[in-house]
Structures are given as C-alpha cells and as structure tokens.
C-alpha cells in the first residue's frame, strides 16, 4: 500500500474490570480507505472505535494519527489526561448507534454548536456550512426541525452532518443502522456510500454484510477482542480462511 497510514493503532488493550475487551489490536487505515469491521456482539468492535476516539482511553497501546503519536507517553497521568484528546477528536468524527442528537437544538443547531464552540467559527460561517451539509445528506428542508420531530433515519443523517462539519480526516461509524427500522436503513447507508465515493476515510462497524461487500475496501473480522482475519471483502466473505469467520458468516447468512 502507498504511503503512511492516516490512522494506525498498535497493540491496543482495553479492559472493563475483569473483562478484557480488547486484547492487542493492530489496525492501519490508509487515506481514503473504507474499512468495514464485522464480528459478533461483544467481540470488541464498538470498543475499538471508542478507544480510537479516546471516549474509552485504552490502558495499553499506541494510536498514531497522520503519523503523530497521540499518547503523551507512559509518564503522563492515566486516563484521558495522558492523551492529546483535542488533537485527536477534532480530526476524527464518530457517529453513534443511538444518534445522540442534542434534543434542545434544531437540526441546524446540532450541526453548528461544535463548530462555534470547539472550532471558534463565526455563526454565519457555521450556519453556511451546516446548511450545505444538511442539504448534502438530503435534509435541506428540515434544518429548523427539532430531533423529536425527525425519524430515526433523519436523525442519524443529521448526526453524520454534525460530525462532517468538523472537517474530520477520518470518520468512525458505530453500528449506525442497528437502531433503525429496516425501511430507514437504506437512506443512511446511501449517505455513507456517497461519502465513500468522495474519498472519505472511514471505519464502519456494521452488521450489513451486503453493504460491507459493496462499499468496503477491506473487511476486518474481530472476535474476542482480537482481529481474527482481514482482507478484501470478496476474499473474507466468500473464502474465509479462519474457522471462526466461517462460523460467524454461516450464522449471519442463516438469519
């Protein structure tokens, strides 16, 4: 592959109490690459995204973003304080399963808030950017609606626009269609597909195998806190090398 990866994790470990959720994850993402992460519940895929974003700072391991080590080193105090949190979060966008829109702000207000507070953009600039992005996710006519008046699919698209407004280098998607009614899944996947077409670097945790096959450049299969197998979608999905992957795909296809 060409050049240095835009995002790289090295030996990431994370435990919650006695439970070791991540047991040494190495992952390198190239610029413009779409990596789909598959795996059973509890395999650590969501935790991996949350570690990369430092919502759950890992106990051990390194994270490099654009070649920069974002851990302040072993001497730094533990937890969030040991990391270059702001540097990382302002460059990595994340979209959650539960949308997490701000219910007291309109769609537009959701997309402008962090632009104005975290990036210090002017109100006019933030509004302009928000309108463009909401238009792009197909919600140009909903800018003044509040989240409670939007469908799940529309809320999730606002959440995507909100993350994009920060001009992220990498976007993380954490099972963003799992909380949606089936008929609303497509409108959200279409937006992600479009982003992929525009060259956005993305890590997508998903259960949508068809989507992963179509949009993913690479599939990473995780189980029990480790990466079991990775490779091009056709290879991993059609000719999995590992027994665990075969088992999982067999179960998923049976549904």
């Amino acid at each position: 592959m060409a050049g240095d990866p835009i995002l790289r994790t090295e030996n990431i470990h994370k435990r919650f109490g006695d439970l070791e959720v991540l047991r040494g994850v190495d992952l390198a993402i190239e610029k413009g690459e779409v990596v789909c992460v598959l795996g059973p519940s509890g395999s650590g895929k969501s935790t991996l995204l949350r570690c990369v974003n430092l919502l759950e700072p890992p106990e051990q391991g390194q994270i490099y973003l654009e070649g920069r080590d974002v851990c302040k080193g072993a001497d730094a105090p533990s937890g969030e304080a040991g990391w270059h949190v702001d540097f990382l979060r302002q460059r990595i966008g994340i979209v959650f399963q539960q949308f997490n829109l701000f219910p007291h702000r309109s769609a537009l207000g959701n997309v402008t808030l962090a632009q104005e507070t975290a990036l210090g953009r002017s109100k006019a600039e933030a509004n302009e950017k928000a309108r463009v992005l909401l238009e792009r996710v197909g919600l140009g006519d909903k800018v003044d609606e509040f989240p409670e008046r939007l469908s799940g699919g529309q809320q999730q698209r606002v959440a995507i626009a909100r993350a994009l407004a920060m001009d992220p280098r990498v976007m993380l998607f954490d099972e963003v269609t799992s909380a949606l009614d089936p008929e609303l899944v497509k409108e959200v996947l279409d937006v992600i597909r479009e982003l992929a077409g525009e060259g956005m670097t993305m890590v997508v945790v998903t259960h949508e195998l068809g989507f992963a096959r179509e949009v993913g450049d690479r599939i990473v299969f995780m189980d029990e806190g480790r990466i079991v197998e990775e490779g091009p979608p056709a290879r991993v999905l059609d000719e999995p090398r590992e027994e665990r992957t075969r088992q999982f795909l067999g179960l998923v296809l049976e549904r």
Binding site: P77, G93, A163, D181
Partner: protein
C-alpha cells in the same frame, strides 16, 4: 362555637389589620424572590463545581460535596441565628457587618444570606439529579466533536438538565418562601411577626390566619404549576423516543 371561630376568623379584625399584614407579606415576597434567585444561582454553581473533571480538581469536588452535606443537615433557624448573631461582631467593613443595602434593614439581609446558604445546598442536589438524568450519550457526542468539558456542560448538559428539574426547583422555591417566616425570630417585620404581634396584643389569631391565607394565594397556584410542569415533562419524555427507531 362562635368563640372558636372568632379566634381564627374574626372578619372585623382581619379588615382592620389587613394593610399591616399585607405590608408584612410584601416583605415576605421580597425576601423570597431575592433569596430564591440567589439560591438558584448558588445551587447551580455548587452543582457545576461538583461535576468538574480530573484528579487535580478533586478538592473542589469534595469541598462542594461537604458544603452540600453540611447545609442540608443543619436547621435553617440555626443558620439564621449564627449569621445574625455573629456577623455584627466580626472584623469586617460596616456594610457587611450590618448590611442595610437598598434601604432594607439588616435582619432582611441576614435572612437572605441564611436562606441562600441553606437552599443553595438543597437546590444543588436538585441540579445534580438533573445533570445525572441527561444520558451519557449526550456528553459523548459533544466531547467526540472536540468540545471541552466546560463547553459541553454549558451548551449541552445544563440546558437539558435545567429543563428537567424546573418543577422540583419551583417546589424548593415554595418551601423557601414558607421558611422565610423563620426570619421573624431576628425581628424582621415580615408577615409572621406582624401577625404574632397582633395575636399577642389582641389575644386573637385572625391576623396570623390572614397571613396564612395570603401565603395560600401565592403557594397554591405555584403548586398547581409544579404539577402541570411535571405532567408536561412526562409527556415530553414519551415523545422524545425517536420515531422510526426500533
């Protein structure tokens, strides 16, 4: 039978003393509004201090918790007596020792201080409940967008938290209003003391009853308002579950 009724509801006595009692009640209202506003503010400050992040700020969090515990556990009357009986003798500027701001007598301001100190602690607990009722996903969303703890608190958490606890805060305000009568013990001529003076000189309680009725005129509508706000908040919750979500 009539004697019993007259003891509490002597209409002539009420009419004769109406102006005096109303004047006392006006002081009660002023005391309630000023102390209520300050307690709302002070409670919010305490609640925010209690939520400050990181290990270096642990002493601030502990101080806030200790303050809240202490003043929720100490009777308001004792706080009133402590302040009014000690402040005049402390080595402080006269304006603080014997405050007569805005033409109000010093017992008024001692009362404001005691009520703010005590009810600030109560209200801090109410704010805390509101802050904790905001889903963790809200903080995560804001922080993941690069917003700082302070920005997240101010723009995301508090606006939602305060909306959730508006009704319980109003409840505390009603309680504060009733507790302003305790300031009568340091000779503030509010409604209870006016009524009590008339009771002592006329051997009749109707002026105090009148004061109680004036309270009801204000507190009953407020209590109804609290009920309606709670009902509305419940309705809001059921509507906020996203349509189209599984």
């Amino acid at each position: 039978m009539n004697e019993i009724l007259d003891q509490y509801f002597d209409i002539d006595l009420m009419v004769d003393n109406f102006d005096a009692v109303l004047e006392g009640f006006w002081i009660t209202i002023q005391l309630s509004v000023i102390a209520g506003a300050l307690a709302l503010l002070w409670g919010l400050v305490l609640a925010v201090l209690r939520q400050l992040p990181g290990r270096p700020l642990l002493p601030v969090r502990l101080a806030s918790v200790a303050y809240i515990d202490v003043f929720r556990g100490v009777p308001l009357l004792i706080v009133i007596l402590l302040i009014s009986g000690s402040l005049p003798f402390l080595p402080l500027p006269e304006a603080l020792r014997i405050p007569r701001w805005f033409g109000k007598p010093d017992p008024f301001w001692y009362g404001v201080m005691a009520l703010t100190i005590t009810y600030g602690a109560y209200m801090a607990e109410v704010y805390r409940a509101g802050i904790e009722a905001v889903p963790a996903g809200q903080t995560e969303a804001a922080r993941s967008l690069g917003m700082s703890h302070g920005q997240t608190m101010r723009h995301v958490i508090l606006p939602q938290a305060i909306r959730k606890v508006f009704a319980p805060l109003l409840n505390d305000f009603i309680a504060l209003m009733k507790d302003t009568t305790l300031v009568s013990v340091i000779a503030l001529n509010e409604v209870a003391l006016v009524g009590r003076d008339i009771q002592s000189s006329d051997f009749n309680s109707s002026a105090l009853t009148l004061g109680a009725l004036m309270f009801l005129v204000v507190t009953l509508p407020l209590a109804r308002l609290v009920d309606r706000l709670i009902a509305r908040e419940k309705g809001r919750f059921s509507r906020t579950s996203p349509r189209g979500a599984a």
